[in-house]
Symmetry: C2
Subunit: 429 residues, 2 copies
């Protein structure tokens, strides 16, 4: 297994090299069209072959050949023809829910979570273990994560799925090779090719492994599985113990030029503010991170997670806010203001249309959305011409592990021939 | 003439549509190869046809056909063969310095500047008019700019050049259509398709017009014409009366998702700081803009420009800093610190390797580079793994007008068939 990440296979495009030779172009064309058809099946509601031909611009004969290959490779299934209103009914096609699947693992500061999603994006198994991981050595946390992941992998197998890829999310700086360099809130985790380590500990063959920052994966989770359709350009703010940002531009994750971007939690909101674990001063995290917020509201910080429901302390915060308790409301107002200031700094520069409040901020959105929006209005100079919408994540703290599992699914759908080279042979006509 | 910008023609790439038909693909291939050869001529030191064939992977016969077409279109010239050390010498090829040219116009707060660059990127004519444009109506400033531009256009013609495109830079929010929405320091300039207006006032035919924020054009100027080769990923901070940022990622300008990004001057550096003309509070511009800095140093603000040498007040600032005058040094330290705080906000998110100090900051770099670098070290959490270099613009305040003129040149070199469709016909073999 290669060290760290194997990146998504991509179609070659204009790279300043001469175009490939004729046989290479034909192979490329086939690969391109397989991807085109599979993406269309994924995006449509049970299309027929004739509908696919109409939507892709390919001939019906070509579509049929490609669909047959995708069915032979277990990626697509055909249902019984539905009675159409007009003409001969076509057989509806859909992604195979019993085909390949993706395993996602999220190691966060106060929980470990994992899930398996099938090709349709449905979560088939999940498991979360709550506990403060700052108190444990990395090996202990990893063993715990791997035990949970093994368990749901076996469950998925029993359900007829084949796990082919692994995605791992972590609240830290992960480079393009999938190496975790630093997690400001998990100080011992340094220089670890995390997805590879987890894959080795799982000890079973995988086609692909991928590791990324949890906020990046949460943004992808929201893009792929969130309630809002066609979310193309947005920043997801992931509130956990730390605060991260995942940026999606043109439907693609933007990880920063060298992969270590998205560190919203360490944007300065008060140059003379309190010192931060990162070495800076007045970082957003020190005002709007989960612990800072609980402390400001006079609540004890408590290990836990919002995955599958908010952690006890956050739930208590919500309860107090609902009763109008002044200290709680003030703390939320302050956190929302800080969040708005930090966001305005890079929205002035990036001009993004949408902010998604994610992680535990989703639970607190009723109190945060006002001050966040207010600061953005006041501080983003392009706002009158480029309005910014602040919305709430529909997946909350689960977005990240869903994104981690979804990586494998998107990889297959975007380029099935890269994951299953046999489909190219199967399309020989 | 189309309203606003005509964007650069681009090669179609993987857009989720079926690949084009065979004749369309052949045309595309020819267009692609013309661009490939012309870009290689632009990037090399007088290559021969054989060298071009080796570097592009095309056959010598294909290269010869393409080069002949580019010469017929006046884009490339051939010099007498140089005596090689080995073998028969090839004729060196280069961009035609007497071919098409680009006109650049920069309308800034305290000056108007214009220049013509030839296909090789050399500035052939230039003209700058200093004066505070805030005191004048837009029509007056535009007439002044057009008079200067007409003059150098005629000079360029006398020198044998053909001006085919216009680029206009302005310190404000310019959308993808080239419409200036707002210039915080030039309040009357609103909702103007500036390049089109200038082109109409010039009253002569142009192939392409383009308008953009002055910091964006300065970043492109630095990328194309600056001393540092191969500057691929950087932010240029343009210090003028206002403060802007031009971001280049992967060699391409990143204007923000909706084109209105780069507003570094309005990033909050002190949430409770002084009110700003943008409606915000504690913006960078209020601490590190030219007037704010002069005021802090106890110097009178003075209309002028650093184009072709620093403005009197900035020159005086430099003089005082050189003598170690404490108020001046303190003001510079404060400005550099604020600049570092504002930059750290989005470098935490974008993970860019290089900051270029441009505009009048280039003159002041000896005093700014220390505090800027210090704040970045302290506040950018990924810094230990992703080092950030702070360098000085080699073009200073001239970068923007050079970039504005260069737009036309790059457009031709990147896709000659888009600007000169006749080259496609000329390559018929």
């Amino acid at each position: 297994m290669a060290r760290g990440n194997r990146d998504f296979a991509r179609m070659p495009n204009d790279t300043g090299r001469p175009l490939p030779s004729v046989p290479a172009r034909q192979q490329l064309l086939k690969r391109h069209n397989l991807s085109l058809v599979l993406r269309q099946i994924a995006a449509s509601r049970r299309p027929s072959r004739a509908q696919l031909a109409a939507r892709t611009g390919l001939t019906k004969a070509t579509v049929s050949t490609l669909v047959d290959a995708l069915m032979d490779a277990q990626l697509v299934v055909e249902s019984d023809p539905e009675r159409g209103l007009i003409g001969r009914p076509g057989s509806p096609l859909s992604l195979n829910p019993q085909g390949p699947a993706g395993l996602g693992v999220e190691i966060n500061v106060d929980y470990v979570s994992c899930c398996v999603v099938d090709l349709t994006g449905a979560v088939r198994c999940r498991r979360t273990i709550v506990g403060d991981n700052r108190l444990l050595r990395p090996e202990v946390v990893l063993r715990r994560a791997v035990r949970a992941a093994s368990l749901i992998w076996r469950q998925a197998e029993v359900a007829g799925l084949t796990v082919v890829g692994l995605g791992v999310g972590v609240p830290g700086l992960v480079d393009f090779d999938g190496v975790l360099h630093r997690a400001p809130n998990l100080l011992e985790w340094q220089g670890i090719p995390l997805a590879e380590v987890v894959a080795d500990m799982l000890g079973r063959p995988l086609q692909s492994v991928y590791c990324d920052n949890e906020a990046n994966l949460a943004a992808l989770g929201e893009r792929w599985f969130g309630r809002r359709d066609n979310l193309q350009d947005f920043v997801l703010v992931s509130g956990e113990i730390g605060v991260g940002a995942g940026i999606v531009i043109g439907g693609e994750l933007f990880r920063g030029v060298r992969g270590l971007g998205g560190e919203l939690g360490h944007v300065t909101v008060d140059p003379m503010g309190p010192a931060c674990s990162c070495g800076g001063r007045g970082c957003l995290e020190r005002v709007a991170g989960q612990e800072a917020l609980l402390e400001a509201a006079g609540l004890p910080a408590e290990a836990g997670t919002a995955v599958g429901g908010p952690v006890a302390s956050v739930a208590e915060l919500v309860r107090r806010a609902l009763t109008g308790e002044p200290t709680t409301l003030l703390a939320l107002e302050k956190a929302g203001t800080a969040l708005g200031i930090a966001l305005s700094a890079f929205l002035n520069v990036l001009d993004l249309p949408t902010v998604v409040l994610g992680g535990f901020y989703a639970e607190l959105a009723p109190w945060l959305i006002g001050p966040v929006t207010g600061e953005l209005h006041d501080r983003v100079v392009n706002h009158p011409w480029s309005p910014i919408e602040v919305i709430v994540s529909s997946l909350g703290a689960e977005a990240s592990v869903r994104g981690a599992a979804g990586i494998t699914i998107r990889r297959i759908i975007d380029d099935p021939a890269a994951s299953f080279p046999e489909v190219l042979a199967l399309t020989r006509t």
